[in-house]
Symmetry: C2
Subunit: 208 residues, 2 copies
């Protein structure tokens, strides 16, 4: 790739593809070494291009982080943003659990980056604020499903939201694409455990 | 506290208490700043004592880490190490879920430290090896309960173990002692969700 800032898109092959490659490489390095410990030169080195080739796509390292975190949040929020279309709160909740699990499996490096965010700098602060809003919306959906009598109400709505998303988010710790566990099954597994728990069908329920 | 190494225990008040205070302060700092970024002088400063007062209790920073991680692991393993005493695998599993949740609530800073371990240095490597053994033992218990027909077998045993412990371990991200959520309820909440899921008693089961 040329070191000069080329204004002629035809010279750059597939600019969209290049931009994606930069994002993927940056996210991989942020996850491996941490955001602070990763330089723009590291990302360029990983891709075998020059720093100025990267600045053709992104104005700064923080802009890359912002875009990557935004992508993770977009994918997690997609199921929550679906129009209700007559679905009950509990049906919508189930779709949110499945959608978030599938989003995590599909965008594993991006969601991994998001879940490690601790609020250093404006991009991380903004991402944490969006995560809080997401959590509040899921809690509201749980409370609505409890009010409808469709899910148990002996566990606090915010605890339900946190425990189920704790289960979903834990995937970043152990799920690896191409490993022994089939990622396409995990949406089913999470929804099954979240809704029905471990008891086999027909077994008596726990008296806690 | 005196700066000299005192060999006369009577001068030191309650040595056991001092040792606990050092451990607690070190664990708090490791969690706040990271193990590498915490010096023995930092721990001494937090306690308002001298470095040599600390070396009375511990030979090195790594020795403090090793003891702290061992304590977290001991507390998580306690329920798993209980004699079976005629309990079924599924009853033992339930006790493991509840025991681990209660251990996490009770020893939050220690378990938080454990769950952040990435394997840098011998103490972290040893802790990771013990965590792997723990995971394998829980997976074996899940498989046994599945074989007994006491829990569902349409989700892989290792996925069950990971998802339920993902839920339990997520507590370190959001549970805070003295906050809005009652820690003594969480053992109940985790066992309820793990065994029976969100469906209210008597509702039809999901067809996934």
């Amino acid at each position: 790739m040329d070191t000069a800032h080329a204004d002629t898109p035809t010279r750059r092959g597939r600019p969209g593809h290049d931009r994606e490659a930069v994002l993927d490489a940056a996210v991989a390095l942020f996850n491996e070494r941490g955001y602070d410990a990763t330089s723009v030169a590291d990302v360029a080195g990983r891709l075998g291009v020059t720093k100025s080739a990267l600045y053709h796509h992104f104005s700064s390292k923080e802009a890359v982080l912002e875009l990557a975190l935004g992508r993770a949040l977009d994918s997690l929020e997609a199921a929550l943003d679906q129009p209700r279309d007559g679905r009950s709160a509990s049906a919508a909740l189930r779709d949110v659990f499945r959608g978030a699990t599938d989003a995590l499996v599909t965008n594993l490096p991006y969601v991994t980056l998001l879940l490690r965010v601790r609020g250093n700098g404006p991009a991380e602060q903004a991402a944490l604020a969006r995560r809080r809003t997401f959590d509040q919306r899921v809690t509201a959906l749980v409370a609505q499903a409890q009010g409808d009598g469709d899910i148990r109400d002996d566990v606090d709505a915010s605890v339900v939201a946190r425990l189920i998303f704790g289960m979903i988010n834990s995937l970043v710790e152990w799920y690896r694409p191409g490993g022994a566990i089939d990622g396409s099954r995990l949406g089913h597994d999470v929804v099954t455990l979240a809704l029905d728990g471990l008891r086999p069908a027909g077994a008596p329920r726990t008296q806690e």
